[in-house]
């Protein structure tokens, strides 16, 4: 089981980073989104301070969604999905492997995005790099738990480009609110402690959807 997860994770990471295009295009997409916000929203530093947490997490949602889009694309295109499904690998292992792959991919993007975000919006963010990255990790787990499930669910469908965000974003509202609030706590006051209730909510979200997605992934991936 664990070795299956590991195999899928290693394969996905290898594919992602062998073709660095994939990684770079996602990184540049995130930069472009940050830039668009910088252009569209008022530029004075006071405003940026209050807006920054929201901008950071909306960028996260948008670029994360595009990462999910490509999650099962490779398997779909060369038809290796069927091979994977009829192999003795359990569905649960496929799910956890894919989810881990998405998590690693998004986390690396986040690690590069935090300094950039700090540069463009709120200079103090970089001094909270560790806390923001930890928060990113906690949010990313919840995000990829639902995201991987829904990405697997929509791969077969015709208008998946549009269906995935419609299904995904409303479900992620608790995650978004919690992340924004905790980021405010980190940037403006005493860090995680000041928003302990939200941290609990976020962890509860992660655990719940990790379990639900793990259990329901079987049904999504039936042939």
């Amino acid at each position: 089981m664990v070795s299956d997860i590991w195999t899928i994770l290693a394969k996905d990471i290898k594919l992602d980073f062998r073709s660095m295009e994939n990684f770079f295009s996602m990184l540049f997409f995130s930069i472009i989104i940050l830039l668009i916000f910088a252009f569209a929203l008022p530029a004075d530093t006071h405003d940026h301070k209050t807006l920054a947490p929201g901008i950071f997490w909306v960028t996260f949602l948008l670029s994360g969604m595009l990462s999910l889009n490509k999650s099962f694309q490779m398997e779909k295109e060369n038809g290796s999905m069927e091979a994977l499904l009829v192999s003795p690998t359990s569905r649960g292992a496929i799910f956890l492997g894919k989810m881990a792959g998405n998590t690693v991919f998004i986390m690396i993007i986040q690690a590069m995005l935090i300094p950039l975000f700090s540069l463009l919006f709120i200079n103090t963010a970089i001094s909270h790099f560790g806390e923001l990255l930890l928060l990113s990790l906690i949010s990313t787990i919840g995000f990829t738990a639902i995201g991987t499930l829904l990405s697997g669910l929509t791969t077969d469908l015709r208008f998946k480009d549009i269906l995935l965000p419609i299904l995904l974003f409303p479900l992620l509202v608790p995650l978004l609110l919690a992340s924004v609030k905790i980021t405010q706590g980190i940037l403006w006051s005493q860090g995680f402690q000041s928003e302990l209730d939200w941290v609990k909510l976020l962890i509860g979200f992660d655990l719940m959807f990790l379990i639900i997605s793990y259990l329901t992934f079987d049904f999504v991936m039936e042939i």
Binding site: L157, L167, P170, L171, L177, L201, T216
Partner: protein
Amino acid sequence: MRRILGILLIPAIAGCGWMIFFWVPAEASMGIVQKIMYIHVPSVMVAYFSFFIAFISSVGYLWKRKEGFDIVACSTVEIGVIFCGIAIVTGSIWARPTWNTYWSWDPRLTTALILFLIFVGYILLRRFTTYGEQQARLSAVIAIVGCLDIPLIHMSVVWWRTLHQPSTILSTQKNVIDRPLAIMLWISVFTMALLFAYLLSMRIELEQKTRAYLKQIANIY
């Protein structure tokens, strides 16, 4: 059975409407607008109830793989979305004189809106897939995930709001309601529940007929 429901409905709705406008006194501080609560509150309750049924029958479908569960799930979601929409619209109308704006991020309304969007997604998913076992499976998963998310959504929306400004607003709903008003509310909930049961049975029958038809077509080709 449905015929009885239908016959019951006509006097129930007529009576309820009459009572709302002629029997029950207007609420002291709100005036006439408050009467929209007799549509708003039952709609919310019916919407939640129908999503709950969708949850149960989706679990049932994935467990037992009986098509009947899927029929109930998809019918009840559609009706639930309609009632949820009614709840949001009536809530906004009620918000206008109360808070002087049509939309105020009241936690209950916001939760209802998010639920509305989740189950609109469910319906769109069904529309984008074609009738079959896959459609039933995938939409059951969405219904389950969506329903389990409800408590988290509600909690986060309440906190999000209250941390912004203390909710002086909610207290107006929680204060002691006059006796006739409370009775009236229960009567309207009961009427709306009757309406829901009637619509659901109609929708289920329609769905069964559609599917029988689709199966026939599939057999021909």
